[in-house]
Amino acid sequence: MEFKLQYSQLNEYSILIEWPVIIDEKMLKNILNFKNAIHKKYSKQKVEVINTYNSILIIYDFNINDATSEFEMLKSLFLDKTNYSESKPHIWEVPVCYDDEFGVDLEHFSNLKKLSISEIIQLHSEAIYTVYFIGFLPGFLYLGGLNSNLFLDRKTAPKLNVKEGSVAIGGQQTGIYPQDSPGGWHIIGNSPIKLFNSNQNPPCNIKAGDKVKFVPISNTGYKHIQLDIMQSEYQLKSIKIDA
């Protein structure tokens, strides 16, 4: 599939590249391939490349002298598919406890959607989600692939303190709060794993293009994993898959 891209200069030191305004896995692959190629091209310079659903932002550590020639260079880099190296995604198995101790909005969610709690858990944990990018908070994953039966508008007023690890649904999205933070999504469970650790580099094992599967665990299972994490004996399960 060929995409029409738009190049623009955002400020003195960054360039924005935009794809069509859609959320699409094939397009994500195209974006991530290009992102890798840009990283490779600039491996010796200080350059940051971030992506979202339909854009790439290149942030240079220096001012851009000539944006037009930079666009030309990027355009030919995009067309030259020999620069593309597919990185193999991981599927991460993220344990979630949907017990009502954690899933504080489950009952309300169940009433509004006219689904039983076990149906919600099944629909939420059987899907394989795609990580589009990380944003909003350190370690917050933007996941695609939520079953449309679980779509529910976010709360009208956000809760001031959503607990770290909360697994929630907001609109057409689902996600995990990596830290305590305000949030307007409906909380259906909690994961004991640490998604973000500023003492390791990179601080997050999961990256854009990876997959996530939620694995339901019991309350006891949750406490066991918590203990293992405290004793540094827990490793998040993942399998590498062929793209």
Partner: protein, 282 residues
């Protein structure tokens, strides 16, 4: 070592920021006014990377336990060394146990204290910039001890001869680029943005500055997209939000304008009620 006797209103350690971590949702952070902080570093011959103390509105009270040299730039908060006034933008010699304190804010909003070779607080993900969720604290507290290398004042050769242009403090026009969604605005709204005088609202922090008045608009929300310090978002309810150094890496509000680096520095020195104009960079 530096002992924090009193912390001031909002005092934090900052450097150039956490470059290279935005892919993990980590804000870049770093000094709000990069011009003034670089200036403080330059006076005492530091590299641009050296960590400084960013002082907001009300100054801290600090005791230096080892000899060194320092410089203070940016907002004038009337610095005093052992209760005697000292000059801004000059190299100041420090003896062990000297106490630096500050008076009332006269100009600007943020001052920068640089020490020879920079403050040696822990590096987290390549930066010493304090930010909640990354470092233990997001600001320094009374009783904190901050490391720095001792420096023999006699090594200091001639006085600094760099001329300080304090224009950042005085300026009130923000130069901007058109943002990715600027052209989706109706003509009269585009004009309005570039013509009216804005005021800094009381909602202003290291994360974002809100401006008044409200600009009514019918822009639709966008698919979550990259944002940067200096991105000016216009919400559906008409709020103008200028993202600052601690801002999130992505956002869902239309990005109508983008401030230049210099304009971010200018805005960093403004406080509640300050008047501002916006001018398109040509």
């Amino acid at each position: 070592m530096l002992k924090v006797l009193k912390s001031g209103f909002y005092t934090s350690i900052q450097d150039k920021g956490r470059f290279g971590q935005r892919n993990y949702g980590v804000p870049v952070s770093g000094v709000m006014d990069s011009y003034s902080s670089q200036f403080a570093n330059a006076i005492i011959g530091n590299s641009k990377e050296a960590a400084v103390i960013e002082i907001t509105m009300t100054g801290p009270s600090l005791q230096f336990l080892k000899p060194t040299i320092i410089a203070i730039s940016g907002a004038n908060i009337q610095p005093q060394l052992n209760n005697v006034d000292v000059e801004m933008n000059l190299c100041i010699s420090i003896k062990a146990n000297d106490i630096l304190s500050f008076g009332r804010l006269k100009t600007g909003f943020r001052a920068y204290l640089a020490v020879k070779d920079g403050f040696q607080s822990p590096l987290v993900l390549g930066s010493r910039s304090m930010y909640k969720a990354i470092t233990i604290d997001n600001r320094i507290q009374g009783g904190d001890i901050i490391e720095y290398e001792s420096y023999d004042v006699n090594n200091q050769s001639a006085n600094a001869t760099i001329k300080c242009i304090n224009e950042i403090i005085e300026l009130s026009t923000l130069e901007v680029y058109k943002g990715p969604e600027f052209n989706k605005l109706a003509d009269d709204k585009q004009k309005q943005l570039l013509e009216i005088t804005f005021k800094v609202s009381k909602l202003n922090s290291r994360m974002a500055y809100q401006l008044e008045p409200i600009i009514e608009n019918n822009l639709e929300q966008i698919l979550t997209a990259p944002v940067l310090p200096g991105t000016l978002q216009l919400t559906p309810s008409g709020q103008l939000i200028v993202l600052m150094r601690d801002c999130q890496t992505t956002g869902g509000y239309p990005r109508v304008l983008q401030l230049t680096e210099k304009s971010i520095n200018i805005l960093s020195q403004k406080t509640t009620g300050s008047n501002l104009k916006i001018r398109l960079k040509v």
